[in-house]
Amino acid sequence: MTKICVVIPAYNEATHIGAVIRGAKRFKEDVIVVIDGSTDETAEVSRQAGARVIVHAENCGAGAATMTGLSAARLLGFDAVITIDADGQHASADIPRLIEIAAAEKADLVVANRFGRKNNIPLIRRIANAAGNMVTFLVTGIYLPDTQCGFKLFGKRALGQIQLRMSGFEFCTEVIREAARYRWKISTMPTKVVYSEYTMAKGQSFASGLKTAAKILLRTFLR
């Protein structure tokens, strides 16, 4: 039987992390939360909600926190990992479907697609995602409808091979680059997403999106 855990990278998410952990625990008992240098009560709330907590002493970025979670899962003997955002924008009810798709399509990586079903997504986010998809296509040659989504499943092969080097939000593109490098089979799954003022404030701004794109291009062509 495949051992699967949920990894949640979190930075100052004390108000939402409890609900996200409880939602994930309805489907998977093992939840790892990587506290990325939070200055609020995220760690305490996560422990109370029953998650295994790993703490970064300093804020390193979403990519570094995700990689710490993946490393932990690998070292703890899990076969697959589901990553989910800590701000509550993803529907944990989609976790079983994510696992079903991975099994049915023998996928190494399943990426949730927020644009695959009717969701109320702000225009600025749609533009930012389209730009992210284009940059990802430019550096990897792979086009996916939603490369920047944090809701993913890493299968056994992907979990064993992945090695993320980018620390910030640019890790989403690096995941696809790793998929191209190791020729993983990628599947997508339409998912529900909830955008609130909170999630909009927590996500990438236009300026940080530009910085992310510049970093990806720079790293790709000067590697």
Binding site: H56, L75, Q161, R165, R181
Partner: protein, 124 residues
């Protein structure tokens, strides 16, 4: 019949480009670059080799950019060098950041009772 005559520059640069393309594809075969990146680098070095073999092709660039005088070309070259130094410094800072992140990540795993020394990506 016109005889092809190459300057040493026209021999050395395409050979260097060939070497760089070989190096890029070597990285692809060692799975350090993707096929896509290998293709992009091949295009880049092929363009450099083409310009060295056919310097006249730069006349199109000159007409397009408006760089006609030597002084302008020198300014553009200097800007290129400055940008390269800037990129190099950014890459160095990024590398330092990565090393710092690796230390923080390792310590976090250790503090959580997970031994990061055992970790090594699997060849599959």
């Amino acid at each position: 019949m016109n005889e092809l005559q190459f300057t040493p520059y026209q021999i050395v640069v395409p050979l260097f480009c060939l070497l760089m393309v070989t190096y890029a594809w070597n990285l692809v075969f060692r799975q350090k670059k993707t096929i896509w990146e290998g293709g992009l680098w091949t295009l880049f070095w092929a363009a450099i080799a083409y310009i060295s073999l056919f310097p006249g092709s730069l006349q199109y660039l000159s007409a397009f950019t408006g760089i006609k005088k030597n002084e302008n070309a020198a300014t553009i070259t200097a800007l290129g060098i400055v940008f390269f130094i800037l990129f190099y410094m950014i890459i160095r800072i990024e590398e330092l950041e990565q090393r710092l992140t690796a230390i923080i990540r390792g310590k976090a795993l250790k503090d959580a009772g997970i031994d990061p020394v055992k970790e090594e990506p699997k060849k599959m």
